[in-house]
């Protein structure tokens, strides 16, 4: 049982010891960072494999008063993403970061602690606390380059993120005021007597607050600015985990606290699907305009999140499976893409599309990874992005969102326009002599690992889907979740 608790505690402890080691013993820095990442991976795998049937851990045996942690397939999906991304992130960052390493890794571990807390907790206020831990350390990480642009972008990020947190806190307080409890299982039971309009308003605050963190258009504006000059390995975690964890919290709150029937009745499903379609169409249009690779990938993240939103909000079993699968796939694909850009940035400080001209011939394997990941994210077979998009479209059609399904295909076409632009530049020969710092194996290996996962999950999608197939059981029917939580 302790494994789930340790998943939150161990990164916190690591962050603490990293701070200590900075003051006293600098030598153990490297073994501490990697060692704890490996132990953490082991812990995650332990928790993920025991995630079905769902389990509840109440800390300190305080029962419903104390803190409850719950592991169900949906939270273990996020633990799986942490497991896949975190070790490559650590290995990559070791070599990549040329600035002060201590701060960077301390914040990275804090952020992971926050995210794993968010996905495990079964308490609304804890959720808010962990959200703040992860958002603030995420802001701190994005600042690490300390360039003018980086500071400006982070400032915008901080302001918008705080605005979002404010509304989430407001909604949390309102919920507590109305129901007198913050336990996820007790709220839905107490919610039954609350008038429809008041519930709608609380839901609107939750959705608005989290949408700011997720970055749906027009709440997205901070995102490309923040990505533009932040450490690139951080972008991997940011688009793969920070944005996704906000999405996790939103889904958890809406499906468990409000329940699918209320979502349907109040029209939230229709609104979010429509919002998603608008978001990815505009995001694709804007992505084509970008000349900076990080900004381009940021817009692409916004668009992909919109696909995920559509999948999760069509309100059927197939939709939840498809959306969850796309969450995993997007983390992998975007991770691979950002790492490739990170290598280019490391080797010849490339940031613009123009800067990577001709690199396809200098870095054949890395460029091939980029091609694979970008075709995957566009959604072409036989890569993983295609499988999850196929499932999303199928689910949308089943739930009678025909326009959404159609526009997803249009979006696929639009996303090809800008990714292909980058690929063509990558393979255009140039006369210029380039000064290249050779990227070592520690930069290449994580990149290739994520790139090859794109192919593996594309050809054998049943591998991750065996986990996803259990997700709807605990979301669509909130009674199941409540029963387990109260019973535990």
């Amino acid at each position: 049982m302790e494994a789930a608790v340790l998943v939150i505690i161990s990164p916190l402890l690591t962050a603490f010891f990293l701070g200590i080691s900075r003051l006293y013993v600098k030598k153990i820095f490297f073994p501490l960072v990697t060692g704890s990442a490996i132990i953490y991976l082991y812990l995650l795998i332990l928790v993920i494999t025991n995630s079905y049937p769902a389990k509840v851990y109440s800390i300190g045996d305080w029962g419903m008063l104390g803190i409850n942690l719950m592991v169900d397939p949906f939270s273990s999906l996020f633990l799986l993403i942490i497991a896949i991304l975190f070790l490559p992130f650590i290995i990559f960052s070791m070599k990549y970061t040329k600035f002060i390493k201590h701060d960077y890794f301390i914040f990275a571990y804090l952020m992971i602690a926050g995210i794993s807390g968010m996905v495990l907790t079964a308490d609304l206020f804890n959720l808010y606390v962990f959200l703040e831990v992860s958002s603030l350390s995420s802001c701190a990480l994005s600042l690490q380059k300390k360039t003018d642009r980086g500071i400006e972008g982070t400032f915008k990020y901080l302001i918008m993120s705080t605005l979002g947190s404010f509304f989430i806190l407001l909604a949390t307080i309102l919920t507590y005021y109305l129901t007198g409890t913050l336990n996820m299982a007790e709220i839905p039971l107490a919610f039954e007597d609350i008038p429809f309009k008041i519930k709608s308003t609380i839901m609107a605050f939750f959705v608005f607050g989290y949408a700011l963190k997720i970055g749906l258009i027009p709440l997205h504006a901070w995102l490309p600015d923040a990505y533009e000059d932040s450490p690139i390995p951080y972008n991997v975690l940011s688009s793969g985990l920070v944005m996704k964890s906000a999405l996790y919290a939103l889904i958890r709150i809406l499906y468990i606290m409000f329940g699918i029937d209320f979502l349907d009745e109040s029209g939230m499903l229709t609104i979010v699907v429509f919002w998603g379609v608008i978001t990815f169409l505009i995001a694709h249009c804007l992505a084509f305009q970008q000349s900076n690779l990080n900004r381009l990938l940021a817009y692409s993240s916004i668009a992909q999140i919109a696909y995920i939103m559509i999948g999760l909000f069509v309100g059927t079993e197939a939709g939840l499976i498809a959306g969850s699968f796309h969450i995993l796939n997007h983390a992998i694909m975007k991770g691979a893409l950002f790492l490739v850009v990170g290598i280019f940035n490391y080797s010849l400080t490339a940031v613009e599309i123009e800067d990577i001209k001709g690199l396809g011939y200098k870095f054949p394997i890395i460029s091939f990874t980029f091609v694979v990941a970008s075709l995957a994210i566009v959604g072409l077979p036989p890569f993983n992005g295609f499988m999850s998009k196929w499932l999303i479209v199928e689910a949308a059609l089943e739930a009678d969102f025909v326009y959404a399904a159609f526009f997803i295909l249009v979006g696929t076409f639009l996303s090809l326009t800008y990714y292909l632009k980058v690929i063509v530049t990558l393979y255009t020969k140039t006369e210029e002599e380039l000064l290249i710092e050779e990227p070592g194996l520690s930069l290449k290996l994580p990149t290739i690992f994520l790139g090859s996962l794109c192919i593996v999950f594309g050809i054998v999608p049943s591998l991750p889907l065996s986990l996803m197939n259990k997700i709807p059981k605990f979301l669509l029917d909130n009674g199941e979740y409540i029963r387990i939580l109260l019973g535990g």
Partner: protein, 524 residues
């Protein structure tokens, strides 16, 4: 079960190993010849099932039509790989293998999912082949990729509609979403209006790429059309219009490769007409025409490729080198010319008269004659430059043996089919009750050819004239400009001012509350 497509894709993977030239030859030969043999021994009626997620896939299903198409694909693949093995680089050879492999898998696929996946894989591999092949084809490759992906997404949408309407992915006649299937096929087989990629790509890409692409891209479109949307009679007229457009455009071209590309549009017109009749005779005529077309058009592309290889350009003037310096190429070209012109005792004649015989409407019959006439007229121009005009060209370098070998294979096959047209029928058990050597068929086959010679001699100065390049209106580029302009307008709003961001956020909150307060089912 070993499938030819799988064999090719394995070949592409084997070529990833660090190998020297000799092993490259051995692998290529084994794979291409092996695929031909495997295809030859596939038994119609065989199929294989595979469970994938919730779908039941049939990655291979053989019947007489797919076997015939598969045979000619494998045969032409052998010839094309031999032809280009010395010219193209190793990465390109891999892409060619993936391309041929996916084309073969499409032909033998038994369900729409497999069909779509490999259809898209064809697009990806051929686009990268174009992009990687030379420095001048980046934009062309971009255009080609986008256009074909638009086509295949249309196919995907059609598949989704069909799947949600019928609940099955089997490869039967389409019930829902026919227009989307038609758009997808139209892009692939370069129907007029959707053809803009073809002359562009085939004239700009290196000639060996054009050879490989011209064998499969359009023909896969034809095959899938025969499979999914045969028998829509009105399309016969569409095919006729497309072909007539092809003739007009082809006559204006100054580049030989462009002439050949437009002539593909004409030939595909025959196949569309044959398929649209919908009768067994019409469809088998169209499929036989597909076989013959692959043979002679590939030989013509290869011959022009030899000319480009030896002289460096594909102007009509350069064709003159054939007569004096390139004997093998000359013979191959002549045989291919007589085939494409539909002269009796050469291969094109057989399928053309089959399609003509299956037709019953006088307008279409007359149109078919017009198409044959146009085809032979524009290839007379080709022949005129190749054999009758004096030329003072010199060989820059000699054509390689492998190029001539690849061309020779196809030429021998053409002659065989021409002399013994029943060969194709016996090979696949597709029997059509037709006597090719009856006097009336021979006469009607000869007529357009003789007329075209007469017209060519009378109006030679118009046909052989050098026309100005026609700058035509490209709708797709206009649409792209619109997309870029919209994006530009939108990105202007995003100027980095924080108060603007906050304004957007507030507006969103207000709209969200508004939508939730009033029932949004009515609003959206």
């Amino acid at each position: 079960m070993l499938t030819p497509g799988f064999l090719y894709i394995t070949g592409a993977l084997l070529l990833l190993l660090p190998i020297n030239n000799k092993i490259k030859y051995i692998i290529s030969f084994l794979i291409t010849a092996g695929a031909l043999i495997v295809t030859f021994y596939l038994i119609p009626g065989n199929s294989l099932q595979l469970d994938f997620l919730k779908l039941t896939l049939i990655p291979i299903k053989v019947d007489s039509i797919s076997k015939l198409t598969g045979l000619i694909f494998a045969f032409a693949g052998l010839a094309a790989v031999i032809y280009s093995i010395n010219i193209c680089s190793l990465p390109n050879l891999r892409l060619i293998f993936v391309f041929i492999g996916s084309a073969l898998t499409v032909v033998f696929s038994g369900d729409l999912f497999t069909l779509y996946v490999f259809w898209e894989l064809m697009t990806i591999s051929s686009s990268f082949l174009i992009i990687m092949a030379s420095d001048f084809t980046k934009k062309t490759g971009y255009y080609y990729f986008l256009m074909h992906v638009a086509g295949s997404l249309s196919l995907l949408w059609g598949i989704f509609l069909q799947y949600s309407a019928t609940g099955s992915l089997s490869l039967n006649a389409i019930e829902a979403g026919t227009p989307f299937f038609l758009i997808a096929i139209a892009v692939k087989l370069a129907f007029v209006g959707f053809h803009t990629w073809m002359p562009l790509v085939y004239s700009k890409a290196p000639f060996y790429v054009a050879v490989v692409l011209s064998i499969y891209t359009t023909k896969v479109g034809v095959y899938v059309m025969a499979r999914l949307v045969s028998g829509i009679n009105i399309l016969a007229y569409a095919g006729l219009i497309s072909a007539l457009f092809g003739i007009v455009m082809a006559l204006r071209q100054n580049q030989v490769l462009k002439l050949l590309s437009y002539s593909i549009i004409i030939q595909v017109g025959y196949m569309i007409i044959g398929i649209s009749i919908g009768t067994a005779a019409g469809i088998s005529g169209a499929m036989f025409h597909l076989v013959n077309h692959i043979l002679y058009k590939t030989v013509l592309f290869m011959a022009v490729g030899v000319v480009i290889y030896t002289t460096g350009k594909d102007d009509f003037e350069n064709l003159g080198i054939m007569r004096s310096k390139l004997p093998v190429t000359s013979i191959a070209t002549l045989v291919a010319f007589l085939g494409i012109a539909g002269v009796p005792f050469f291969n094109g004649y057989m399928s053309k008269s089959l399609i003509k015989d299956a037709l019953h409407e006088p307008l279409l019959k007359w149109g078919l004659d017009l198409m044959s006439f146009g085809t032979s007229l524009l290839f007379l121009k080709f022949i005129y430059y190749a054999f009758f005009k004096n030329s003072t060209m010199n060989l820059a370098k000699k054509p390689t043996i492998s190029m001539q070998l690849g061309m020779g294979f196809l030429t021998v096959m053409m002659i065989l089919i021409g002399i013994h047209p029943y060969l194709l029928e016996n090979l696949t058990n597709m029997h059509v009750d037709f006597n090719y050597f009856e006097m009336k068929h021979i006469l009607s086959g000869m007529q357009p050819f003789l007329w075209s010679i007469l017209i060519f001699i009378l109006f030679k100065k118009y046909v052989v004239k050098k026309y100005d390049r026609l700058l035509y209106y490209d709708m797709y580029r206009k649409m792209a400009t619109l997309f870029v302009a919209t994006g530009y307008q939108l990105s202007n709003y995003h100027d980095g001012k924080l108060n603007k961001y906050l304004l957007w956020a507030t507006t969103t909150l207000i709209i969200l509350l508004f939508l939730l307060m009033f029932n949004s089912h009515l609003l959206l």
